[in-house]
Amino acid sequence: MLRRGVTLLWDGARTHPRPFSLAASGAALYALMAVGASIVLGRVTDAVVTPGLGGEGVATTTIVAGALAIVAVALLRSIGVVFRRYYGGRTSWEMQRTWFLRVVRTYLAVPLEYFGRHPTGTLLAHADADVERAVNPLQPLPFSLAALLIVVTATVTLAVVDPVLMLVGIALFPALAVMNRVYTRRIERPAAEIQARTGDVSAIAHESFDGALIVKTLGLETREQDRLHHAAEGLRVASVTAGRYRGTFEPALDTLPSLGIVVLLAIGSWRVSTGALTIGGLVQAMALFEVLAFPTRVVGFLLEELPRGVVAVDRLRGVLATPARALPADGQGTPLPAGPLPLELDQVAFAYHGRAGRGHRGDRRGSAGTPVLDECTLAVAPGEVVALVAATGSGKSTLCHLVAHLLDPDAGAIRVGGIDLATADPASVRRGVALAFQEPFLFVASLRDNLTFGEPVAEADVAWALEVARADRFVAHLPHQLEHVVGERGVTLSGGQRQRLALARALLRKPGLLLLDDATSAVDPVIEQQILGNLRRSLSTTTLIVAHRLSTIALADRVLFLNGGRIAASGRHDELAATVPAYAALARAYEQDEAAA
């Protein structure tokens, strides 16, 4: 653990050598001047104070020199502190930025499936808590180095002043270090306990007040109080335990150097009387003891922070080790032809591996490794409008993602315009195949930016796309029209409006293959009909619609029924309803839903 900790620190210092070396230099200056200040004080005592007040008299220049020396040393020490602090902080912030960029770069390069495997919270935690913990040990590092230097120089100067006093020092330093170590060890458990119980209290309060209505209507107040009391009592007990350790060690760590000074006074007086030591020497030694009390503690903090940092770095390295998705570079590979594109799936199989789920329906039932698609074969002619119908959670979205080349099939081939996606030019696939998602994602940016992503697009094209997607009117009524900035994750727009914007975004590229993954589910049925009508009229494209409204299904040339990971039936809606019982059951459910809505 220590070796890996050192690697962590060394890594930080090596990655950002300039701020680190400045911080280390500042730390060294500070350490030398901290010890230097005690030497100066001792000298001033002997050369200025004792003769000055002892009756021998002292020259004014000596007095002034003594006072200036005190201030000068303090000034140098302060400069050292400023450098140590400023550049020490800078080193860790530089390193934090380095880690941020590494993590972010990885997130942008990994395959989409990666995000399905890891909950958003975990991924955010890597970029937040883990990065923070990975750089935290860097912050006390310069100070810790200074502390070591202080202990060494202090011991040497003590030896020069009086070897006997040095022995007292040698007894004191380890005592402080050991006591500090014991303290941090002891308090670790209650500290963790406090944190855990604080989390419990917070979780219970959150839940309880969120569900206040339920608590009240079901009369659960007493139950809630008991729950909170249990957690809060745990917190109290842990706090009292921590308080006991703190009460034991904090004053002890304060008292120990004071006791050392008392011992110094006793021994030092005797040494002064024998002439082995001057009063200034004694003052110097006492001042040193005061300096020494805390650097040992800083080293303690570093040692405490280090294991957490090492664990965080391990996790981050795990993230960085995720292989990027293997894709030909843009412009490499075969380009897709222009115009409406035919689509073929040939024996396509796909399974999510170790999926953690991101709230998709059906994930709860543990679909890890279960094939979503298995020997799925289908063909769609150019210009055809096909409805893909399947029960909830049976792979409709996955199929769309595969066709849009956001996922790679485990087996089989997907051909768009006759080109296998595995060998197609990714840029041309993005232009030719557009997918509108069920949960439209809008960036915190203007609507225009959300549609064009900063690409130069003709105003007429934007207007056309908005019109086809029936987003033109509500956009026109927004205060800033296309310059309207979307609230975080699109909260200021309704679900249906966001879906229509996302659809307009997909249309803007005039794709040869348009995939609508339940992309109008939140849109009013009447508007949806208008949109689908617009699509047929004004866009020459092949369209695959995932839908669960009969009115939508009825608009399609053909229905593909996906069941058990493969296309179970294909044909017109009424044919399938008459011949395929599973399809008929699903259609009935849709029908009743529509009657209710």
Partner: protein, 670 residues
């Protein structure tokens, strides 16, 4: 001489650490970014951590959330001064009074320990070494022994006092936390909203925690620092008043500089927090929008946006760091000036004032003792402000009157379906905003009632009043022929059941969540509730059946599934009046169908009032009650109201989407 930085360490103990964020919490925070639900007071821990790590605290994502405005009840105490807060606070939390006594004792003990050493130095140097009779071993060893015994004694006393103090304050805080929690649950929920809830959670959590940090450490530090400063100057004055005055004058500018720098540094910290929040949302966006990023090849664009945010955070941190770096050596430097001046003045004129060598040396050590508290006290005062602000808010909650009082002589509610009779009923929020006015309504037992109206028409408030979640300000609400104000809470819970639309579930199993409907029910009865609603298939489909965990806020279940659990819970409770706040969120068609059917079964043999968002509910109801601007404007069967061509007919038309079909809809047509 104590280096000024000593306090960086004193401040910090290992308990005070940056919170480790667990994943759920982060997710939660990501959600909160857009609804600004939570109020979290700045955590003074940060200040402590910052002192330790010599730099600005890293991520504290909860702090960039907007803080809600104080609610009226909190505002009541907003003007109360510090002394008033302290007085009321101690009255509300008697346990803390004992804690305060211990704290003051502890402060005096600690200060005595800190001042003892310089005094000892002076005694030994002047009387033991340089006295008229030269070196006096007996005197020196005697005083050293006394000094050592005093230090050890003071240590033991400090330890004892500290532990007693922590015990007292922690008990006090536990009591305070429970009292506030209890009080919040007794408040009416009529005015609850997201923002208010967030604020209340903060009361029970971060405000109490802030107070805990203060009572455990800040309060001690505050008093210790004050006593040490006063004590040190006092001892100095005994040695020489002129030097003392000089030292005071040299330290005086710090009283101006330190608070000024402190303010700037806090402003820089705010900027850091903003930047951290920005980075966080950019990262969150790149994760939640991963599919769009890939589908549209936005990697480059996303990368540059992230980079800009990361760079901004870096710059903000470095700027904040600069203040931190300059602030702390400042008192050290002034201390050195005071030392140099004391040496110069003391040596040049001290002889004439009768100053001894030991006295001057002790004086120098006393300046060292001062440095730490002087540098620290600005910050401690700042923390005191924060703690008092939290305390003030806590007292504000406790001062909020409970508005739904239990009757002295309660009446039970009858069994079976319950009739509703509302007479001249009015309701307004506590701030005076009227919500319902002159509502008169008679609904027969066993009726299926749909309550409709625009958002803000008062229909949801009406539902809450039917369950006595609040009392009307005028008129009466009679259920089963009895004024709700005369009923017991127990009776209401048995006979009236509100099924809220959000389908809130506790983080336990499906079975436990249903059982909350009737805690005495066994597993069989819980299962029967599902059977009665024909929802058993759903239960059987769960991996662990009744024992399936639902996750935080029911997050493992879909919206529709949460509603299934809520309905089963209502069924188990077997109420005579069912008040249903209908869900608006989309549910997949299969579940939707099951829910509709279950609801029909649940309604059998009960009065059911639905706050309807769907046309089908209103169509199927026996009576439709139409609310508009807080009044009942229409009531009657669906067909009659449509024919009447009033408010309901318009609502119905917009439901059907006919206005949109004509193409004259201005825009927001979802």
């Amino acid at each position: 001489m104590r280096p000024a930085e000593r306090h960086e360490v004193d401040e910090v103990d290992p308990v005070e650490r940056v919170d480790d964020l667990d994943e759920l919490e982060l997710l939660d925070r990501a959600d909160d970014l857009d609804d600004g639900e939570d109020a979290v007071t700045p955590d003074p821990h940060d200040a402590a951590v910052e002192l330790l790590i010599e730099s600005a605290p890293a991520g504290c994502y909860d702090e960039e959330r907007p803080r809600p405005e104080p609610t009226p009840d909190e505002a009541a105490l907003a003007d109360a001064g510090a002394v008033e807060v302290l007085r009321r606070g101690l009255a509300a939390t008697p346990e803390l009074r004992e804690g305060v006594a211990f704290t003051i004792g502890l402060a005096i003990i600690s200060a005595a320990g800190k001042l003892a050493v310089p005094v000892l130095i002076q005694q030994i140097v002047d009387k033991g070494i340089r006295g008229d009779s030269g070196f006096r071993p007996g005197f020196v060893y005697g005083w050293a022994a006394i000094g050592a015994v005093t230090l050890v004694g003071l240590y033991l006393l400090a330890r004892l006092t500290y532990v007693r103090m922590v015990r007292a304050t922690q008990s006090g805080l536990l009591g305070l936390r429970m009292r506030v929690f209890e009080h919040v649950h007794r408040l009416s929920v009529a005015e609850h909203n997201e923002q208010r809830r967030g604020a209340l959670v903060a009361r029970v959590t971060s405000d109490v925690d802030t107070l805990a940090q203060f009572t455990d450490w800040g309060m001690v530090q505050w008093i210790v620092d004050s006593v040490v400063i006063v004590g040190a100057f006092g001892v100095m004055a005994v040695y020489d008043w002129r030097l003392t005055l000089q030292t005071l004058l040299i330290f005086a500018p710090l009283a101006v500089f330190l608070p000024m720098l402190q303010r700037r540094q806090l402003a820089a910290q705010d900027e850091v927090r903003d930047a951290v929040g920005e980075t966080f949302s950019e990262v969150a966006e790149s994760i939640t929008g991963a599919s769009v990023v890939r589908a549209y090849a936005l990697e480059g664009r996303t990368n540059s946006r992230l980079r800009a945010a990361i760079d901004r955070q870096f710059r903000a941190r470095v700027r904040a760091q600069a203040y931190v770096a300059f602030m702390f050596p400042l008192s050290d430097l002034f201390g050195a000036l005071a030392l140099g001046a004391a040496v110069a003045t003391g040596v040049a004129w001290g002889g004439g004032w009768g100053l001894e060598v030991g006295e001057l040396v002790a004086f120098l050590f006393l300046i060292g003792v001062l440095l730490n508290p002087v540098a620290e006290i600005t910050e401690v005062l700042d923390r005191t402000q924060i703690a008092l602000a939290g305390w003030r808010k806590l007292l504000g909650v406790l001062a909020t009157p409970i508005d739904v009082a239990e009757p002295a002589e309660p009446t039970d509610l009858p069994f079976g379906p319950l009739a509703i009779d509302v007479e001249a009923m009015c309701f307004a929020y506590r701030d005076g905003t009227p919500v319902l006015e002159d509502v008169d309504l008679t609904l027969p037992a066993g009726a299926r009632v749909a309550v409709v109206g625009e958002t803000g028409s008062g229909k949801t408030t009406f539902a809450k009043l039917l369950c006595r979640l609040a009392d009307p300000i005028a008129g009466t609400v009679n259920v089963g022929g009895i004024d709700l104000r005369a009923t017991t809470a127990t009776a209401r819970r048995r006979a009236i059941r509100l099924v809220p639309q959000d389908g809130f579930l506790f983080n336990t199993t499906v079975g436990e969540n249903v059982r909350l409907g009737r805690p005495a029910a066994g597993d069989d009865e819980v299962r029967e509730a599902f059977i009665a609603l024909d929802l058993c298939w759903w239960l059987d489909d769960l991996p662990l059946g009744l024992a399936t965990p639902v996750g935080e806020r029911g997050g493992n279940l879909s919206v529709g599934e949460r509603q299934i659990v809520a309905l089963a819970r209502a069924q188990l409770g077997d109420p005579g009046l069912l008040v249903l706040d209908e869900a608006t969120s989309a549910v997949d068609p299969e579940t939707e169908r099951a829910l509709t059917e279950a609801l029909a079964r649940l309604a059998e043999g009960r009065t059911m009032v639905s706050i309807a968002h769907r046309l089908s509910t209103a169509e199927a109801a026996d009576v439709v009650v139409v609310f508009d601007a807080g009044r009942v404007v229409e009531q009657g069967p669906h067909a009659d109201l449509v024919a009447a061509g009033g408010v309901y007919a318009k609502l119905y038309a917009s439901w059907l989407g006919s206005t949109r079909r004509n193409g004259d809809d201005p825009g927001d047509d979802d």
